[in-house]
């Protein structure tokens, strides 16, 4: 760990702190339908959209209709993405003549992008045409992010409203999110990324004649060496490098701004074309956290309790720092099993565990990115989590297991943490022996039951599918790394998909019938089985009367509240997942220290 590494972490957190209030105020205005500086341009577009799509912008919906509209939109757009992938060969913007995506993979990918997961069982540059990348995948990056944000806003309205049966209009919230919160920032951000070196073009791939022609060993389709007639390994002459490009920047920015994470390339944000410089890396990490941080201020403003918003922000920031420092420490120490290697940090090298990391980022910026992407439900990566040290790799896993409430996915992080807030005030209520209240609303049996449903469904899908996969051949045959690491690969896969994160311990081969189908189900359950109980709480809170705070009310604006909130998140996570973690990364760490290899 170096002073410079600490500085990078500090500057990043400072930037997030600075953006929270202005972005929060902006979003409050957007969702309260007040004037913003973008109105002269966007308001006419908005009106046009409503006219074309038959939306009455004055109409409000009850939570059930809101949920129903959200589901309809998700199903229709998911179906379109599936069909686009299956027919891409016949559609325009396909200079590489990419063939139809196979049905199971297309289903998995459609579920993945609709649920804001962006789990990828394919190699982007070798599978998807430019049309699919733009109008299929990047498009869903916009809409799945927008759906997440509008749901958080609906939840906040539920808390803020008194004795109302409605929580807003889904279509209006959706359009306003896309036009005001996503599109303008993506236009600017995409151009910033191009300025740093992210390509944006529609040409076919380039064929470069490389400087030094290479003789490489010939391998067959299974990766085995091919022998020549003389019995020696045959060689291939390689004098060309095919360089994949495309409309990358426009997709890259919404991938982060909407916490989606689905890379244009297989290597995601580690690829020099997706993330060419340390500055582009900072821009991308900033984009991942910005909206989620801003929403904490929006929460405070819409519920007339800015201090509550900041109390939630501080709980998130503390959990974030704990994660990033643990990860940075673990990766800086390097791999004790490697010999004859200089892993020390010095002025001329980053040192540490560099397997699966890029030199321009080194250890600090890679650790920071891995923490940010899993705190939020982004899932972009700039280094392979599978090659991290056991404890280093456990941090991203734990981050997702804590339901991605540490800033979290856009919207999803906000409604995720509000579930824990409901539990926290409930527990505080139990401790003092009176009916819990949250911002003037009584939290009753129905609300707590719905909150518990959310916290139980999540581990249930993860642990059940992990258990099945780790004892059946169709599950274990996909493992790349033997020993406890193999269990971690499977556990990570289902955790990531249930949490709609999308990052991977990517050694695991997910492109099999079992993983494509079980993964798609996990993602759909992880998304919609969270959303529906959450909207139910929102509808229930909106109907309730306002109860003025009294002496016995547990205040949700104090440091004590932040500590209680952190405790609830950590205790629920630890009770659920500690046994699985101890058989995976913790066991591997102990065995590694003892010199065991697999």
């Amino acid at each position: 760990m170096t002073a410079n590494g600490w500085l990078q972490i500090a500057v990043f957190l400072a930037l997030i702190f600075l953006v929270t209030k202005p972005l929060g105020i902006f979003m409050t205005r957007v969702f309260n339908r007040e004037r913003t500086f973008l109105d002269p341009v966007l308001r006419p577009v908005e009106r046009l959209l409503y006219r074309v799509t038959c939306v009455d912008e004055k109409r409000e919906m009850a939570w059930t209709e809101y949920a129903f509209a959200m589901l309809l939109f998700s199903v229709v757009s998911m179906l379109v993405l599936y069909l686009l992938q299956r027919t891409q060969l016949y559609l325009p913007f396909n200079p590489q003549k990419m063939a139809a995506v196979p049905p199971e993979l297309a289903f998995n990918t459609a579920a993945s992008f609709t649920t804001n997961t962006n789990w990828q069982n394919y190699t982007g540059e070798a599978t998807m045409s430019y049309l699919i990348q733009m109008a299929g995948l990047a498009y869903h990056n916009f809409t799945s992010a927008a759906v997440g944000i509008v749901l958080a806003i609906a939840f906040i309205r539920g808390i803020a409203r008194r004795e109302k049966t409605t929580i807003g209009n889904f279509w209006v919230d959706l359009v306003r999110t896309a036009l005001w919160v996503l599109l303008p920032f993506c236009l600017v951000g995409a151009l910033l990324l191009v300025a740093e070196g992210v390509p944006q073009n529609l040409r076919p791939y380039d064929h470069a004649k490389i400087v030094e022609t290479q003789q490489v060993p010939k391998v067959d389709a299974n990766g085995k060496l091919v022998l020549g007639a003389d019995g020696k390994p045959a060689t291939d002459r390689v004098s060309e490098q095919v360089i994949a490009q495309g409309p990358i920047a426009s997709q890259e920015i919404i991938k982060e701004w909407g916490t989606n994470g689905g890379g244009f390339f297989n290597a995601n944000s580690a690829h020099p074309f997706e993330n060419p410089t340390p500055l582009s890396n900072l821009i991308e990490m900033f984009a991942i956290f910005a909206i989620a941080a801003g929403l904490t201020y929006t929460l405070g403003q819409m519920t007339n309790s800015s201090k509550h918003g900041w109390a939630v922000w501080h709980a998130m920031a503390i959990l974030f720092l704990t994660g990033v420092l643990t990860l940075y420490w673990a990766e800086s120490r390097g791999n004790p099993l490697l010999h004859g290697v200089d892993q020390h940090v010095s002025a001329t090298q980053p040192g540490g565990n560099m397997e699966g990391k890029e030199v321009r980022f080194g250890i600090a910026a890679s650790s920071l990115f891995a923490t940010v992407t899993t705190d939020a439900s982004c899932g972009a990566i700039n280094g392979w989590h599978d090659s991290f040290t056991p404890l280093g790799g456990m941090v991203p896993l734990v981050n997702i297991m804590l339901s991605e409430t540490i800033f979290g996915g856009v919207g999803a992080g906000m409604y995720g943490i509000l579930i824990y807030v409901v539990l926290a005030v409930f527990i505080a209520g139990l401790m003092v022996g009176r009916t819990p209240e949250y911002l003037g609303k009584k939290i009753e049996a129905y609300d707590v039951k719905m909150a518990m449903l959310v916290t139980l469904v999540f581990p249930f899908v993860i642990l059940v599918f992990t258990a099945i996969s780790s004892v059946q051949g169709f599950g274990t045959s996909s493992i790349l790394n033997p020993g406890p690491h193999g269990l971690t690969e499977i556990l990570y896969a289902f955790t990531s998909q249930a949490g709609n994160n999308g990052s991977a311990f990517a050694g695991l081969n997910g492109n099999t019938t079992w993983y494509n189908v079980s993964g798609a189900l996990t993602m759909l359950i992880g998304r919609f089985m969270m959303i529906i109980p959450m909207l139910a709480i929102s509808g229930s809170l909106a109907r309730k009367k306002y109860v003025p705070p009294s002496l016995g009310t547990f205040p949700v604006t104090t440091p004590l509240f932040s500590v209680l909130l952190i405790s609830v998140i950590v205790i629920v996570g630890a009770l659920t997942f500690f046994p699985a973690l101890s058989l995976g990364p913790i066991l591997e760490h102990l065995l590694m220290a003892a010199g065991r290899t697999f």
Binding site: D206, V216, S250, L279, G340, M354, K357, F598
Partner: protein
């Protein structure tokens, strides 16, 4: 119910045109106008022929060249198939590979410990950079093979070393392709394709 279904279909259609077609095409137009080189992947051409991208690693194995980090992209440095090994820290394949490469490199320059980035595959398989330590490690070999002084080579390495961005972001690094191209242009004889091991 029916009304929401109609809206869902129309909304998907209209927003796909706006966000999926118009938005990326507008970004493409502006990017091509303002940042032509960067929007097209920073390609390097020699005698009218593209020979690579400034920010994509390509293989170098000859002793006269600086070598990039090992690559797991496709069969190695495949810029249409990016990726890493994904080997875990306790995997014998990783440990054996590093031990083999470390022994080979130690024979080449016994005076210095081998910097870790020269022995580990990058995340993308296309990492265009090595650390300054990894470049320094290769200086004696390249100087010997090119019959140049180590000092002259070091000067070139220094020229192609980028510091931290804004003084604190990321890590110092050396661009291997640019360094090698500069070496070739400095050497009296043009580079001929050297025989790989």
């Amino acid at each position: 119910m029916k009304r929401n279904l109609i809206t869902a279909v129309l909304m998907t259609l209209v927003t796909t045109i706006l966000l999926g077609i118009i938005y990326p095409l507008v970004v493409t137009g502006i990017a091509q106008g303002l940042f032509r080189d960067k929007a097209n992947g920073q390609l390097i051409t020699r005698d009218g022929q593209v020979i690579g991208s400034r920010i994509i690693a390509q293989p170098f194995t000859g002793a006269r060249y600086f070598h990039p980090r090992p690559s797991a992209a496709g069969n190695g440095y495949d810029a249409a198939n990016s990726g890493g090994t994904n080997l875990g820290p306790t995997n014998q394949k990783l440990i054996a590979r590093v031990a083999d490469d470390a022994a080979r490199l130690a024979a080449e320059n016994p005076n210095q410990p081998v910097p870790v980035d020269l022995l580990t595959t990058s995340a993308s398989g296309l990492d265009p950079h090595i650390s300054p330590a990894a470049a320094e490690f290769q200086v004696p070999r390249v100087a010997r093979e090119r019959q140049m002084s180590e000092e002259a080579i070091r000067q070139l390495v220094k020229k192609h070393t980028e510091g931290r961005q804004w003084g604190f972001l990321g890590e110092p690094r050396v661009n291997v392709l640019e360094l090698n191209l500069d070496l070739d242009s400095q050497s009296s004889q043009r580079a001929t394709a050297s025989v790989a091991r």
